[in-house]
């Protein structure tokens, strides 16, 4: 398990590199590596842009015979008041393309979003080996 803090653009790059290293160790296929790193990049940037920073946690998880990479992005930012809206393609509050959350959900196998308006947001994603 690895804990990283996200406070600057450089940290987003570091998160990408660490996630890639773990994905390679785990034996994810090249396409799956690329997908999970891209998702990590989107989510880390969300944490930075919408909450001004937060934490990323990378861990290897096991479910029976399958192993997977779990990423948890947490922040103490303003949170999200309308989860459905936040997960809609093209909806953006930060001036982006609005694909960060909805797009990264399609890149991983499991995606959960917990948010408490005013308290913060936790996004957990998992990519399983095939």
């Amino acid at each position: 398990m690895e804990q990283l803090s996200i406070t600057s653009n450089d940290d987003v790059v570091i998160v990408r590199q660490k996630v890639r290293a773990h994905a390679i160790d785990l034996g994810l296929s090249l396409v799956d590596q690329t997908k999970v790193v891209t998702a990590a990049s989107e989510l880390a940037r969300n944490t930075l842009v919408h909450a001004g920073g937060g934490q990323a946690c990378i861990e290897v998880v096991q479910n029976g015979m399958r192993r997977g990479l779990r990423l948890v992005f947490s922040d103490n930012g303003p949170g999200i008041s309308d989860l459905d809206l936040a997960l809609t393609d093209g909806w953006s509050s930060g001036g982006g393309l609005g694909l960060g959350l909805s797009g990264s959900r399609r890149l991983v196998d499991e995606f959960t979003l917990d948010s408490d308006p005013g308290r913060g947001t936790v996004v957990t994603v998992t990519k399983w080996t095939r």
Binding site: N9, Q17, V31, T34, T38, S41, L97, G100, L107
Partner: protein, 129 residues
């Protein structure tokens, strides 16, 4: 912060992105390119992403923006060398990069630029004579 070098070959600008760029460098590149297109009067911009391992929505938006800007400045943008895994991920992410022209590699990119750019140029020179 490392700046991505912009090379000029004839009337084409060539950018080869190496390694993992942070968001600020991406924005800097976008500004630098627009300036160079105006300063050099380039007719084409080729962005080589052969060495790029991931393109997320931020970089994707930068590519689209550069294409849109250079079109307004009368230059054609071609992105070359996108890896299969990157392309698959972009499709999954929902990024269509509409309006962006692509080629498999640098050579094909230059050829594509030649095909589209040479026609109107020839017409103009004909008028001039």
């Amino acid at each position: 912060m490392d700046r991505v070098p912009i090379l000029k070959i004839g009337d084409v600008l060539l950018v080869s992105i190496q390694g993992d760029l942070d968001d600020q460098s991406v924005l800097t590149l976008q500004e630098d390119l627009a300036e160079r297109v105006v300063a050099t009067g380039a007719v084409g911009v080729i962005i080589d992403i052969t060495a790029v391992e991931i393109v997320d929505s931020f970089v994707g938006r930068m590519l689209s923006t550069i294409a849109g800007m250079s079109r307004m400045l009368d230059a054609e943008t071609i992105v070359v060398g996108m890896r299969p895994a990157v392309a698959i991920t972009l499709v999954e992410l929902g990024l269509s990069l509409g309006g962006l022209r692509t080629a498999l590699d640098l050579e094909k990119g230059i050829a594509l630029l030649g095909r589209t750019a040479s026609a109107p140029l020839d017409d103009l020179s004909a008028v001039g004579q």
